[in-house]
Subunit: 243 residues, 2 copies
């Protein structure tokens, strides 16, 4: 019997932002694999199912186990929060599976950047770039180049993993790189624990962002030169005329 | 009575990729506003409700009407496909509403870029940029600069609106701009009519992209230098070691 592996993004955290397709796949699966924080978020939906979890930084082992179980003929859902294809496990699953004969289906989800944008208002309604400041898997020089080029070309910039205990000064370093291209009063926004308990939302200027204390659960959005605050919401005009 | 305006992204097209929150808001609304193509996609969910549609390019009028009806005390859902905050109506609604006392809530959705990525495999698992080639609302020089800078900094690049009847050669023009920074054999992918009838999915090289016939229902994803084809899927490695 051929097994099946669903790679699922369950959205930012709230139950009602999971798609029907993801819910159906989870229901259909006898085995659920995922980092504990993510399986906990949907604990009430996976009661009675076999759970495979591995600690953080053991992503490869987690994917290998999920694939192994699927190959034995079971239906397995590997879950991530947000979208499994955005800094998620989808790529790794294909890399490990290689040319193995196994049915893999990626089910998209509402990524953190889209969820955070909606909470802030409408900051992303123009060309945007998504950059992670984590240099665990990417050389810092590449991250620097992306920050510089994105700022210079006036992209709206969404920043994942702006900071962690080991990288306390990374957001400030990133701001320094973008400084020549972004004016001090440019509107920025942050969402911490988006759509989860203790959610925090706020806006600030680019100048204030230098000293902002972010953590790994924070997503930052830096507006472009046209972004403005309207009734406390962060809004980037699309450019429609006549208003 | 204070009205309410939901600004909703209903995802790429399939019913089962709409979030529960969006479905609940639509159910709660007595009035649905949207471009006809979008309201048609969810026609079976909005039977019996008052519908406000305006033709394409009358986005301002559509938003004004939706706001006016909401102000009269009704619950209104303004719907877009994908995510309402990505090249959608969310920004325009806030701009028109200004400081008016009206309750506006943006409900995020699965944007076209995320849906197309999932169909292609896992192309977006690293830093990416989203660029629209439509110069209706953006000067072409800005689009050129964004293409150049994104390609030079090795972003994965998602292209919305790659072509239309009036702009038949825009995708080729965009490729010419990126050519100095992207090698001929870089893996690219396209999805036409993503998650809708007559969906078409394929991969090709950057060199082949120059002559690719895209239309306004096509989304293009250009990989970075590490993107590869694995079992016919487009995959960008995240960079995990040991595999």
């Amino acid at each position: 019997m051929k097994g099946k592996l669903y790679v699922i993004g369950t959205g930012p955290g709230s139950d009602d932002l999971i798609s029907g397709r993801a819910l159906k796949a989870i229901e259909e699966s006898s085995v659920i694999a995922g980092y504990g924080v993510y399986t906990d978020l949907i604990a009430h939906k996976i009661e009675g199912k076999e759970i495979i979890t591995t600690p953080m930084k053991q992503e490869v082992a987690r994917c290998e186990k999920a694939l192994e179980v699927a190959k034995s003929g079971k239906i397995v859902s590997l879950i991530s929060s947000g979208d499994a294809g955005v800094y998620g496990m989808a790529g790794l699953i294909y890399e490990i599976a290689g040319n193995d004969d196994i049915d893999i289906e990626v089910i998209p989800g509402i990524s953190a950047v889209l969820a955070a944008a909606a909470r802030l208002g409408a900051p992303l309604t123009h060309d945007f770039a998504v950059i992670s400041l984590s240099d665990l898997l990417t050389p810092w020089e590449k991250i620097e180049k992306r920050l510089k080029n994105a700022a210079e070309a006036e992209f709206i910039i969404a920043i994942y993993n702006p900071s962690s205990k080991k990288r306390a000064d990374y957001l400030r370093k990133a701001c320094e790189i973008m400084k020549p291209y972004i004016s001090d009063d440019t509107i920025c926004g942050y969402v911490r624990n988006c759509e989860r308990d203790e959610e925090e939302i706020g806006t600030l200027t680019f100048k204030e962002l230098f000293d902002f204390q972010a953590d790994m659960f924070t997503l930052i959005i830096i507006g472009n030169s046209t972004t403005k605050l309207i009734n406390k919401k962060m809004v980037t005009p699309r450019g429609y005329k006549g208003i």
